[in-house]
Amino acid sequence: MLLRWLGRLLHAAFALIVALPLLMIVFTSMKTTPEFYAHPLSLPSAWNFGRFRELFTQHPLGQYFVNSVFVTASSVLLELLLAGMIAYGIIRSGRKLGAGIFALFALGLMVPSQVNMIPIYVFVRKLGLSDSLPGLVLVTVSMLLPLGVFMLTGFMRTLPKELLEAGAIDGAGEWRLLIRVVFPLCAPYLASTAAFLSVIVWNDLLFPMLLLGGKDKMTLPLALLQFRGEYLTDYPTLMAGVVISVLPVVVLFLFLQRYFISGALAGALKG
């Protein structure tokens, strides 16, 4: 009995530790700057969207938002396609070849992407792809390939083998089998993988920082970092920036929770 109450108390405490800072972001973003400095921790006196308006009028924030959407959507789609093709090849090809290809990508799982910051920066500049969003997309897809291949191979291995063999006997080509049978059957798995990868790409700071420099080419995390140099301890404006950058992910999470959670589970299993 005592244990159960202690557990509840702990949950209540931790729920507050998580929820209060999240509420604080929203409340702080609604304050005017003088109001904030006078009462930094009180509730806002009114719903005041001035910080948001200021950010949008003084910075190409709409452009940054579009950049982030472009980089995330195209990286994740390309990743699903390329990693999906490799995973399909792995489960369809002979034991030796399949295991060999899988091992090639499993090795990549051991390499934290931070290890590659210097050579990626140098090589992308040499290729003339710096300061280009498509360049960032290619780097992102390639950095995430080991993870994508690992997750999708794991998922595709659970498909019934007879189903693929029946399809092959029907004379459907491998490509048709992948597009018409395997991808639709894997739809929930693809959604989980997409959710997991989207969070990583949307939130990444390191590679956008290394590869993008131009004023109108920034993604949201990079733009936020620049705002801090400008607004210093003007937390209402910074928190408004945080709200703008996290809102899309949080809204998606509310509607597609299941996929985020199963994606997080499958993504962690790579350890």
Binding site: V139, D204, L205
Partner: protein, 290 residues
Amino acid sequence: MKPGKKLLLFFLPGIALYLALFVYPTLTGIYYSFTDWDGLSPSYRYVGLDNYAGLTEHIVFRKAVGNNLKFMLAVVIAQTAVSLVLALQLARGGKGAAALRALYFVPTILSSVSVGFIWTFLYDPSLGAINGLLNAAGLSHWTQNWLGNVRFAIFAVAAAQAWAHIGQMVILFVAGLQAIPSELVEAAKLDGGNRWQVFARVTWPLLAPAAALVVSYTTIQSFKAFDLVFTMTNGGPAYSTEILSTFIYSAAFANYTFGLASAASVFFLALVSLITFLQFRVLRADRVSY
């Protein structure tokens, strides 16, 4: 065409990209570590192991290795312990379990830059909530400039890291707990086991694989925490929060010692591989089946 050959076409685009923008850069990175390149000049010299020798005497690098281990221990212990205790309760289901699990997960989907901003604000010496609460509770003598203090800063960042990732670990533990056949736990209870005995003899051994997963995943995450540290302190004050990845970044892009930074990257890779390998050996050795 034989089916096997056709499948090669499925591998081709992915492998080409992977070789060009992952494998090749990793190898050139190792190559740079044997040169004195500054990242700007068109030419550079082969210097053998000079960069590695330089690292062993580099005060900031040595500090970064120590800090990284400190950060890792703090994050792994906090994250594993808190998420395990929370999960034990949540796995039983009941009112609100799903809602709490979802709430705890929200910080894991925020960007490290956002988490960094939130916690920089919380830690702000005059405007932040932490000192505000301490003052309100009459504990003014405990207030600190949390991120400005060379003794506390690394743990302050570690707390933010744990806050952001506990939710994901809760999910992993809950899944592990729910995979334990309830008959086993019931049988142990029927045999007269008390709560602690049931946990120590039945639940914990069966949970070991999940715990191993959480520990190794958390460890790797603690090494990858570049974005958060860069946002909150960028290694300061006085290098007290410098970790390997921030060291590599500033050695390359602030000091233009690309050779030295590359050697640090190779060391970083070797260290992470070694830790992963050791954990794999230690934690998977006593894997149980049921």
